[in-house]
């Protein structure tokens, strides 16, 4: 099979289109690249959707955690503690077991046991907890003067939050949030190793990479290819988030702008 044919056959294999059987026998470099790249679709799907939905819950959690009323504060604190204090790997296993037993109760829970929904929900809660903590930290470090100025203008409640608190919180949290996004995408590789079945061998990039490594007993080809794809993805995330960061800091003089600095302390 030529490389073009391979791409035609396997480019969307992870979604169930194209050739049914995975390649056999001698594996070409082209097959490695196509199939692992095809698996990346799932990583991007999980990462993007969890990040987009998790953002809103994270803001709610941050506001809740900074609330003086324990009725709002306690649930937010506990939610963040449970999801940040336990390994994502165990969370996946636990959620899968939960959904599996709920499936016996009602048909409604059928889709929850497949990765596309069940794992997405876990990732959504997980990233909401991590980013919620980041946003909460940013909320605490909003300059006092900003709030006082808003008060002096007579802004209260929702108006003050929308015009002053929220934009400043975003600006302060953004560098850390960029890291969170990167490591969320890394965390998506855990999905198919943690209970959620890869139905008809429709898996993510790491699933295919480990498939090749198991078959050929040669880790030196598939994993560097996976690394290549993920480094590309990381660079893409950094550039998109850097663009947003520049917009958030637009009004500030050059030396006060917050720079995105890659830190490594957010893997879960």
């Amino acid at each position: 099979m030529s490389c073009v044919e391979t791409i035609q056959a396997y480019a969307f294999r992870s979604l169930g289109f194209g050739e049914r059987l995975l390649p056999k026998g001698e594996y070409t470099l082209c097959e490695h690249f196509t199939l692992i790249g095809s698996g990346m679709i799932w990583n991007v799907y999980f990462g993007v959707l969890a990040l987009l939905t998790g953002f809103f819950l994270a803001v709610a959690l941050a506001v809740g955690k900074s609330n003086a009323n324990p009725m709002w504060r306690k649930p937010a604190e506990w939610f963040i503690f449970v999801f940040r204090g336990s390994p994502l790997f165990i969370q996946f296993f636990f959620a899968y077991a939960c959904f599996l037993s709920l499936k016996g109760v009602s048909n409604f829970f059928d889709p929850f046991t497949s990765a596309w929904l069940g794992a997405l929900i876990v990732l959504f809660f997980n990233t909401a907890a991590y980013s919620g903590e980041i946003f909460y930290g940013a909320l605490l470090s909003i300059p006092k003067g900003d709030i006082e100025a808003a008060d002096a203008y007579g802004m209260t409640g929702w108006t003050r939050f929308r015009r002053i608190t929220f934009p400043t919180m975003m600006r302060l949290a953004w560098p850390a949030y960029t890291n969170e996004a990167i490591f969320l995408f890394h965390a998506t590789t855990l999905v198919f190793f943690s209970g959620f079945p890869a139905w008809r061998q429709k898996g993510d990039a790491l699933y295919y990479a480990s498939y090749f490594a198991d078959k050929t007993f040669n880790p030196f080809v598939p994993y560097p290819i996976l690394a290549f794809y993920f480094i590309l993805l990381t660079l893409l995330i950094i550039s998109i988030f850097g663009f947003v960061n520049r917009r958030l800091n637009k009004h500030l003089p050059q030396e006060r702008r917050s720079k995105t600095k890659l830190k490594l302390n957010l893997i879960r």
Binding site: E26, Y27, F81, V82, G85, S86, P87, L88, F89, I90, Q91, F93, F94, Y96, A97, C98, L100, S101, F185, H186, A187, T189, L190, F193, L206, A209, S210, A213, K215, T216, F217, N218, P219, F220, Y223, L226, A227, F230, I231, T234, L235, L262, L264, N265, I267, R268
Partner: protein, 294 residues
């Protein structure tokens, strides 16, 4: 385990549970908790050592060494750590076997990679095919520890590199003014002072390391996740005295609670260490402590 456990089908409630939780397989589960603790106890210092080496290498004046340090620390940024775990376990195993092969069987003329097989001579196999079971298990655990140390060493290197740069320049200049060589200044001034800057990052890393321990399961070690899956599955009366439906939920809930307690305890302990270390330091934290005491 208890004397009344001889016929579990007659038991009810708590006494049944006490028997159920002390079966031989559950003992394996409890032992695997110690496996996790041993892994942490070995990995943390070794990773710190790797990290210290790499951070020092990244500061070196010798260019290739600096490249090595920089490359080692930055490669983990872009790639998921789990990919490293899966990669290193096979790669290290093959590297060891290949080296032993070169030493022990110099007159072997066939290629090592034959198509999709990796073939070394019998004497170079690790562990030897005649070795007892516990050697195989220990070797697997050793590979896992080494893999964890390499990956977390890279993270630690990043933290320590930052901490070394955070030590005020004036401290080194003072040391040089006293006539210390750069090696003396490094060991006597920089290294003792960098820990307070490194601790927030290192404690974060410790939390991450705790939360990475379930990945042992993926490396083929029989750890708590393995036993939770094994014990939680549906058991019929034919194979066991304690039949039960699928209890995965309860086992994983227990693991979840175990990890939550573990991270909470670590958090409290690390807070205490941080308080101890900041005492008398020229940082914002130290200043706050001084003001509170006055």
């Amino acid at each position: 385990m208890f004397s009344y456990c001889t016929d579990p089908s007659t038991l009810e409630g708590l006494s049944w549970l006490s028997c159920y939780l002390t079966t031989g397989k559950h003992m394996n589960l409890y032992i695997s908790v110690f496996v996790v603790l041993v892994l942490l106890a070995i990995t943390a210092p070794v990773a710190l050592l790797f990290g210290f080496g790499a951070a020092s290498a990244a500061r070196s004046k010798f260019l290739p060494l600096r490249w090595f340090g920089m490359g080692y620390t930055s490669i983990v940024r872009g790639v998921p750590d789990i990919a490293f775990f899966l990669f290193f376990v096979i790669a290290l195993d093959q590297a060891f076997e290949w080296m032993r092969h070169k030493v022990k069987c110099p007159d072997w003329d066939q290629p090592i990679r034959q198509g999709i097989d990796f073939v070394v001579c019998d004497a170079a196999k690790l562990p030897l095919s005649t070795a007892p079971q516990w050697v195989h298990e220990t070797y697997g655990f050793f590979l896992a520890v080494l893999t964890f140390s390499i990956v977390f060493g890279a993270f630690a290197a990043n933290v320590l590199y930052g901490a070394m740069r955070a030590v005020p320049r004036a401290q080194i200049e003072t040391a040089e003014a006293y006539g210390m060589t750069s090696r003396q200044a490094f060991w006597r001034i920089l290294v003792p002072q960098m820990w307070v800057y490194a601790l927030p990052g290192l404690s974060n890393l410790w939390m991450v390391l705790i939360k990475a321990t379930p990945l042992l399961f993926l490396l083929g070690v029989e750890d708590i996740v393995y036993w939770a899956r094994e014990l939680g599955g549906t058991k019929t009366a034919r194979f066991t005295d304690y039949p039960h439906p699928n209890w995965h939920v309860w086992y994983f809930a227990a693991l979840l609670v175990f990890y939550l307690c573990f991270t909470k305890v670590s958090e409290v302990a690390l807070d205490r260490i941080m308080k101890r270390l900041t005492k008398g330091q020229a940082t914002a934290g130290g200043e706050a402590q001084r003001k509170a005491a006055a």
